[in-house]
Subunit: 340 residues, 4 copies
Amino acid sequence: MIIILKKGAPKTEVDELCRGIEAQNIIINEVRGEHTTILGLIGDTHKIDMEAIQAQEIVESVQRVQEPYKGVNRKFHPEDTVISVGNTKIGDGNVAVIAGPCSIETEEQIVDTCMKVKEAGANLLRGGAFKPRTSPYSFQGLGGEGLKLFLKAKKATGLPIVTELMSLAHLDLFADVDVIQVGARNMQNFEMLKELGKCNKPILLKRGLSSTIEELLMSAEYIFAGGNTNVILCERGIRTFETQTRNTLDISAVPVIKSLSHLPVVIDPSHATGKYELVEPMSMAAVAAGADGLIIEVHNNPQKALCDGAQSLTPKHFSACVKKCSSIASVMGKTVGTQQ
Amino acid sequence: MIIILKKGAPKTEVDELCRGIEAQNIIINEVRGEHTTILGLIGDTHKIDMEAIQAQEIVESVQRVQEPYKGVNRKFHPEDTVISVGNTKIGDGNVAVIAGPCSIETEEQIVDTCMKVKEAGANLLRGGAFKPRTSPYSFQGLGGEGLKLFLKAKKATGLPIVTELMSLAHLDLFADVDVIQVGARNMQNFEMLKELGKCNKPILLKRGLSSTIEELLMSAEYIFAGGNTNVILCERGIRTFETQTRNTLDISAVPVIKSLSHLPVVIDPSHATGKYELVEPMSMAAVAAGADGLIIEVHNNPQKALCDGAQSLTPKHFSACVKKCSSIASVMGKTVGTQQ
Amino acid sequence: MIIILKKGAPKTEVDELCRGIEAQNIIINEVRGEHTTILGLIGDTHKIDMEAIQAQEIVESVQRVQEPYKGVNRKFHPEDTVISVGNTKIGDGNVAVIAGPCSIETEEQIVDTCMKVKEAGANLLRGGAFKPRTSPYSFQGLGGEGLKLFLKAKKATGLPIVTELMSLAHLDLFADVDVIQVGARNMQNFEMLKELGKCNKPILLKRGLSSTIEELLMSAEYIFAGGNTNVILCERGIRTFETQTRNTLDISAVPVIKSLSHLPVVIDPSHATGKYELVEPMSMAAVAAGADGLIIEVHNNPQKALCDGAQSLTPKHFSACVKKCSSIASVMGKTVGTQQ
Amino acid sequence: MIIILKKGAPKTEVDELCRGIEAQNIIINEVRGEHTTILGLIGDTHKIDMEAIQAQEIVESVQRVQEPYKGVNRKFHPEDTVISVGNTKIGDGNVAVIAGPCSIETEEQIVDTCMKVKEAGANLLRGGAFKPRTSPYSFQGLGGEGLKLFLKAKKATGLPIVTELMSLAHLDLFADVDVIQVGARNMQNFEMLKELGKCNKPILLKRGLSSTIEELLMSAEYIFAGGNTNVILCERGIRTFETQTRNTLDISAVPVIKSLSHLPVVIDPSHATGKYELVEPMSMAAVAAGADGLIIEVHNNPQKALCDGAQSLTPKHFSACVKKCSSIASVMGKTVGTQQ
C-alpha cells in the first residue's frame, strides 16, 4: 500500500499516522520528493482500512499495491481449485454443463426438461424455485413446493442440482440441494455470504450486474473467511449502456479472474444476453476463452415458460449447442460435460 | 403495451396469442402494415408478462406504453405523499435533514455526534449498526449492541432514528427504530421488500448502484404491494466509468422521480461522492433540484472514524452546510430541517 | 413507428400532427384506449424525425418499430457482404488477420514486424502513422513520414495495409493505403464519414467507446449514404465501470451485428483489453463467436514500443495465437488468414 | 509515479529500467519489501509514458501520483481563470447565460429567438449551423448559410455568439464567431484541438459522452499546449445505463473540476437531459453547485424546431428559469447573466 501525503503535512501528524500503521506490524518506507512525500507500506496490508487512512487530513491519496483478498488469491494458492459435484468436475480440463429451466413450474415440465438436458449432455441441473423478479406482479416461483419437484428431477436423472437461495430463512429447505446459487442481486448480501461460509456445500456465486471483478472476489473471500472454500464464480453479464442485449457478457472476465484467483469460472450466456439466439455463439466463445463451465437455460416448451422464455433454448437446440462447444473444447484438449 | 409481430406470422398462431391476452381482460387492436403488424393492447396491462410474450416465436418485439408500477405511480395518485416521522415532515415544503455517523462506534461518539447534528439543524438521526462492507476484514458494525447505543442518542436528543436493516433475522431488534433503511445492495432483495411491506414503519429505500429509476420504483411497488405505503426514495449515486467520485450522483433523478411518482425523494451526497469536500455543493444542488431531504454523514472526529471517514463532515462543517442549504431553500419557498 | 398521445390531447392538434405525417407518405392507424391513444405509423418511417414528433406537446412518447438504418440493414440485403482486399476475403468463411504494430517507429521496426506477422499468417498489415493519444505529451506518430515507411513494408511483404485517418486534411496521403481506418474517437466525426462515403476504398469503422451498436450502424449508414458500401465494422471494447481491462470487449456484438446487418465484423482484442496476455483467449473467443476478422497488435520488441507496448504480442506469441484461432475456426468449417 | 515490480525481477533489468527513467531527470527511490519492490519516481513525471513502462516484463503495475496535465492544473495556477467575451465575464462571481436554438433554421427564427433570449437575460447566443446528427437522414444544419444568419442575430442583439465547429475545413468561416464550440463527439479529435490551440478565440470544450474528467482536462491541455489558454469546460451529461434522461448530468463534475483546474465550468442541462421540463431544476442545481455558466436551448416555437425541440424551452419558460437561477445565485453572492 502506498500513501501519498499532502504537501506541507506537519511532521508530528505524519509521525502519529506512521506509529498507528506500524502498530499493525507494517514497515514504512518514506520517499520524499520536492512536491510529494510517499509512504510505502511493506507487510500484510490486506487488513488495513484504506478508507480510514484516506480520511486523514494530511493524506492526499492511498493506493493499493497488493490485492485486498487473500484466500481466493492465486498468488497464495497457485494451483487451480477443482470443484467436484456428484460425478462431475468443474475445472481440471472439464467444462461442466449446468442446464435446466429458469423456473420450476410443474412436475412434468421439470422432470421432462431435466431428462432431456441429461440426454443432451448436461451434468448438473439448474432450476429456480425462489425467483427474483423486478416486478411484484411477475411469477415468483413455486418456493418450497418447487424444490420438492426439483428433487424428483434429481432422482429421475441421477444428476446433482443447483438452485438459488433468496433468503437465509429458506436455508433449511436446501438440505438435498447439491450446489447453492447466490444470485447477482445478492452478491453483496454479506449476511448471506457469512452464513454460507459456514456450510459445506459448493456455492455458485454470480457476479452482480455492476460489480467489479475485485468485488466479486471480495464476496468470495467472505465465504472463504467463514471456512467454505468450495466456491464457483459465475459471470452473467454486466450492466452497460448497450440495449441490444439484456446485459453485456464480459467474456474477458474468464482469463482475468483465472489470472487473479484459483477458483473455477462458469459463464451464463442466457441471462447475460436475454436472447436464445445468442446463447450458442456466446457458449462457444466462453469455452474458447477458457471457461470451466456453462449454465444454460433450457425449457421443454419455451413459448409456455412462466419466466425468461425469450432466452431459453429448446432441448434440441441445446443438444446442438453442447456438440459445438465440445468441438471447440476438443481442440483445446478439454472435454465438455464429461462424467467421471 | 404494443406487440410487433414478425413478418409472415401464421394467422393461427397470432389468433392463439390474442386469445391468451384477451383472457386477461385486455382489448387488442391490430394495425397491419406492409412490412409490419402491430398489436395495440388496451386495458390494465401492468400485470402482463412482457417476457412471456417476447418468448413467442411470432413476436419480434414488445414495448410498454404504460409504466409497470401502479401504487407508486403519480398518474393514479397525483398528490405528493408526505411522510411524517416524529415532529418532522419529509416533503410538503420541508427538506428533512438526516445526519449522523456512518457507523455507531461508542456511546460517547454516537451521543456526542447526534447532539451536535441536532444543534446544527438535523431533524432525524442516521447511524449504522449493521454495516455492509466490501471486505470481510473491514469493521462490520457493532450490531445489536450498536442499536442500543443509538437508542441512547435517540433519547438524549429526542430525535427519531434511521438505520439500515441487513437481514430479516435482525428485524426484531428494530422495534424502536423510526425509519428502516434498505441499503443500495439490498434494493432488489425481494424477500426483504416483501417482509417490509407488512410492517408499518417508514422505509428509506436506497437506489441500487446500477438500478434504473424504473427498477427503484418497482422495488417500492413491492413494499406497496405488501400494504406499506410509507416509502421514502433515496438517490445515492450510480456506478459509471468516472473515478473522481465514488459514484456519480444523479441529481436529475429528483425531478424525474417526482414526475413519475408521488413519493418523497432524498439525496445522499456523502455516499454518492465519497469525498467530504463535495458534500456541501451537492447538498445545495440537491435542494435546488427539489429534493425533499438530505442524508449526510457527520462524525465528531472524522479522522478517527472506523468507516467512511473520508466522506464525513465535522459538526462545524455540517452546520455551515445546513445554513447554506436553508438559504437555497428559502428562495424556493421551502424550509430545511424544520420541526413542526 | 408508434406515437403515444397524452391523455386528453385536443382533436384539432392530433389532426394537425397526423396531416403532417401523412404528407410524408405514411399511413396512420389510430388505436384508442381508455387511458391511452396510440398512433401506429405504417410505411417508410426511417426518415421521420422522432425528436420533432417528441417535441409536440400532445405527444407522450415515440417508439421505433423499424430500424432507423436502411443500406446496412440485413432485412433489405439478406446476403453477407464480403469485402476483398488484395488476395484476402473478409467474410465468406475466412477470418482475416490484420496485424502489426500500434505505431510505425522506424523502417527496421515496421518492415521487420510486418515480415514476421506475414510469416505467422497475417494477411493484412496494420500500423499507425497518425496516432490519437490522450496526452499532448505522448508520442503522436510519425505522420506522413510514417506512411512512407509503412509503404515500404507493404512492398516488402506484398500485403495490403490498414491505417487510421485522423483528419481529412491528410486524405491525399492515403492514396496507396488499401483500407482506411476510422478510429473509435472519430466514429461520429460525421464530416469525415460523409467524405469517406465518396471514396472507393474499404473503410474499417471502429465502434466508439460508448457507442451503441445502433449508433455504429448509423455511422456506417453515413458512409453508405455517400455511395461507398465497402464497410468493415470493428468492435474494440466499450467503456464500463470495470478497471481490470482497459475496456470491456463486447463479443456478443458479433452475432448481434450479424443479425442486424450484412456487413463483416472484426474484433480488436488488443485495444479492448489493453493487456497482451488477454489477446489470445479473446481472439479465440471472437472466432468462436463468428467474427470475420481479427486485428492484433504485434511488435518486434514490445518493451521498446513507443505506444501501447503493454498490449502488443511478440511475433512468436502472435504465431501461436493464429494457430490456436485456426484450430477453433476449423471445427466451424472456416479458415483463418487464408489468401485466395 | 510509482512502479511496482514483479517478484523476482532480475537486477540487471531493473537497473536498465532505472537508468532509462533517470535519463529523463527523474530521481528514483526504491522501497524493497518481502513480496514487493516499489520504485518511487520523484520529479516532473507528467511527460513519462506510463504505458511504455507498463509494457516492461518486470513491471507488475504503474500508478500515477501526480496529475498528467500541467497547464490546466490548479496546483500550478491557483487563481480562477476568468474568460471575458464581449461585455460578459464567465466566472469571477458571474454565471454566464448562453442561450439560443439548437439549429439555425431561418432568419426570422434565429433573430427572433435571440432577441427574446437577450430580453430574458442571456448574455451570449448559441445556435448550430453545422449539426452533428446520428442519422444521415436528419437535418444537418444550414452550414455556412446558417452562420450568416447567426451573424445577423449577433448584429441585432449586440451579443457575442457561440457555435460548433465540426471540421477544420470550415474554420475560415468562423472569423466573426466569438466562441468556438468543440462538441462532445469531437472532444478527442486531437487534430482539431491542436489547430484550435493556435487560434486566439475562447474555446468551449464539451465533455465527451463517455469521457472521464481527467480526459476532458487532457483535451484542454492539448489546446493549452498549442498556446491558447482561453478554454471554457462544459459538462453536458455522460452516458450511463439510465434511460429516463438522454444522458446523466454529472453535476458533481463542477466542484471536482474546479478543485483540479482553474478553468471555468458551464453546464448544458438541455443536451444532458433531453427533456425541456428538466432544464429548469437542473439549471438551478448547477448554479447551486457552483457552475460559472449555463448553456440552454431556447426556440421561439419548439414544436416546429427542426432539431431537439423536445429539450428546448420557450422564451417565456427560459425567462422564468433565469429568474429562478438568479435567486439561487444571489444567496451565494453571485450574479446570473450580468453584463459589465
